[in-house]
């Protein structure tokens, strides 16, 4: 079993086919003329036209993008603070508990997070009158709570790699703690913050379970609409939507890779 053995190559190729075959078939069938998803009726873009005429999907997409954008931004702010607390604050009373809270959302099943937040919102409304009803705000709060954990972990691991003496050097040269954070720490961990933002954005955009619990009527997110459409079968419009989303992601990833390679060539 050497690293270049045929067996390895064969299983790796099979693995990649396994990863990509369903996605490719999804894309191909989004251009299918026939309403019957499995029967090939020739090339057509009519499902894309129908997709853009489907007001329900467009509305849901807008809700989702809005939620994802605010969630990602809030998660980055809270997550950077949390990551900083975990790796740079030394000891303080209750650190064990707080660090448990910060990482626990990562392993919490979505159904539990969703249910518990819904029950919290309901109880709070009963007690305090806020939040009145459920909608975009409650979804954002819920998403931020689990997304910030991911940002915190990314930021923490970046900070852990960071040479402690960089921050000490800044202090030594006269920077007070808050200016040292903005002048040295933040710029250095900015790549981690950007990937944290993107991850939070994607996770929020992708979430079905938590949103289903805490979202209110009229504020369905895109995954909720998709789920209700595909629950009992395949829908060609969803194929078209999936193709568009995959395309956007692929372009983004390829652009990021290209950017990285360009940077490497400079050095």
């Amino acid at each position: 079993m050497t690293r270049d053995s045929r067996f390895l190559k064969f299983s790796a190729i099979l693995g990649f086919i396994f990863l990509y075959a369903p996605i490719i078939s999804l894309i191909v069938y989004s251009f299918n003329k026939s309403k019957l998803v499995t029967v090939w009726g020739g090339w057509s873009i009519k499902w894309y036209v129908e997709l853009f005429n489907n007001q329900q999907i467009i509305d849901a997409a807008m809700v989702s993008l809005k939620v994802a954008f605010i969630t990602a931004t809030l998660s980055v702010i809270l997550g950077v603070l949390a990551g900083y607390v975990l790796s740079r604050m030394g000891r303080f009373p209750g650190k064990m508990v707080v660090s448990g809270w910060i990482t626990a959302p990562l392993i919490m099943p979505e159904v539990i997070t969703g249910l518990s937040l819904l029950l919290l919102f309901v109880s709070m409304e009963k007690l305090l009158g806020w939040p009145s009803g459920r909608g975009i705000t409650t979804v954002i709060i819920a998403h931020t709570t689990f997304c910030m954990a991911y940002v915190a972990v990314i930021v923490q691991s970046r900070l852990a790699q960071l040479d402690d003496s960089l921050e000490e050097a800044a202090m030594d040269l006269g920077a007070k703690p808050h200016s040292l954070f903005f002048l040295v720490t933040l710029p250095i961990i900015s790549p981690a913050i950007i990937s944290g933002w993107l991850l939070a954005f994607t996770l929020s955009l992708d979430d079905l379970v938590i949103a289903s619990f805490v979202s209110g009527p009229g504020n369905s997110t895109l995954p909720m609409v998709i789920f209700s459409k595909i629950r009992f079968g395949v829908s060609p419009e969803v194929n078209a939507l999936a193709t568009i989303m995959i395309l956007i992601v692929a372009i983004g990833v390829i652009a990021a890779m290209w950017q990285m390679r360009k940077k490497e060539n400079v050095l």
Partner: protein
């Protein structure tokens, strides 16, 4: 005499100074940095569990919200009454349906994790053996699906596994089967769905450990007379255990509580606890029962995993 007073005042001055320093040592910036995320998590992550536990002790009612109050103020007798109903937990225990659901979730998650490892390991091993530019490309290919919608990736398999889907058409075309197989809405489809969606989570940690693996170790093993297969089992595999452990945990944890995959790909009798909770809540509108299911799930599934993780982390340190 004056000397004594002097000493007294000096001592007094010193205590005042220490107190002043103590005050100064509470750095307000530090305090707020710690408290902002902590307070957020306390309100939106920790307290919700207490609420869940509280409501799991209530009874369902036709009301908004649909459960009974735990605290009832009896105005006639001027006594406060606390009604705790452990009936939900009793029911969980008595009705084998719930126990079966828990066990079946663990079984499905464990089996899928095993297959994810089986498929992911050779891929990670292959990628780690490539030269750096190829590696980046292959790794991107592994991660790319992760950034696309999870829901849509599960959905892709619906089209793939249907009665007249591609897999069945293909198997019929090569003459392996006469009649289309029932692939969708089976446990098999759930396994495939989990392996498929969580494969990147397995490959990445495996790749990280394999990449760090010192090639000369394997060469040394061969030099000392181990066959390639033996070198793999005696050197490579044991050195990869941290990666294998991390990868398995990353797949197993979300798989146990999975809802979407069994809901879309599974049969109506594919029991998974996440789905049971969902149905309890959305179909039966039994919030207290859903809360009880969640509480038990938290205690018997999540808490052990947390301990396992912190245990592993401490070991690392």
């Amino acid at each position: 005499m004056s000397n004594v007073t002097g000493t007294f005042w000096l001592g007094h001055y010193n205590t005042i100074r220490t107190k002043f320093n103590l005050l100064k040592s509470i750095r307000w910036g530090r305090l707020s940095v710690i408290s902002i995320p902590s307070v957020w998590l306390a309100i939106f992550f920790f307290i919700p569990f207490l609420v869940v536990f509280k409501i799991s002790l209530a009874e369902p009612a036709i009301a908004v919200p649909p459960y009974t109050d735990l605290f009832v103020w009896d105005a006639d007798n001027a006594i406060a009454e606390i009604k705790l109903k452990f009936g939900n937990y009793l029911y969980l225990w008595e009705d084998s349906f719930y126990l079966d659901a828990y066990l079946s979730s663990v079984k499905i998650a464990a089996v899928s994790t095993f297959f994810t490892l089986l498929i992911g390991f050779p891929m990670a091993y292959y990628i780690a053996g490539k030269k750096s530019s190829t590696r980046t490309l292959l790794l991107t290919l592994v991660i790319l699906p992760f950034w696309t919608s999870f829901l849509l990736r599960v959905y892709a398999w619906m089209g793939f596994l249907k009665k007249n889907g591609i897999v069945n058409e293909f198997l019929q075309a090569i003459g392996l089967i006469d009649q289309p197989l029932q692939l969708l809405q089976t446990d098999f489809a759930v396994y495939i769905g989990i392996v498929y969606t969580y494969l990147p989570f397995m490959i990445l940690p495996l790749y990280t450990t394999l990449e760090k693996l010192d090639g000369s170790l394997i060469e040394a093993a061969k030099d000392l007379g181990a066959s390639p297969v033996k070198a793999f089992f005696l050197v490579t595999l044991p050195m990869c255990m941290p990666g294998i452990f991390a990868g398995c945990l990353l797949v197993f944890i979300p798989a146990v509580g999975e809802f979407v995959i069994p809901a879309l790909l599974g049969a109506s009798d594919t029991l998974m606890i996440g789905r049971v909770l969902w149905d309890e809540f959305f179909q039966n509108r039994d919030w207290p029962m859903a809360s009880a299911v969640a509480t038990v799930m938290l205690i018997i599934l999540v808490v052990p995993i947390m301990f396992l993780r912190t245990g592993k982390n401490e070991e690392k340190q």
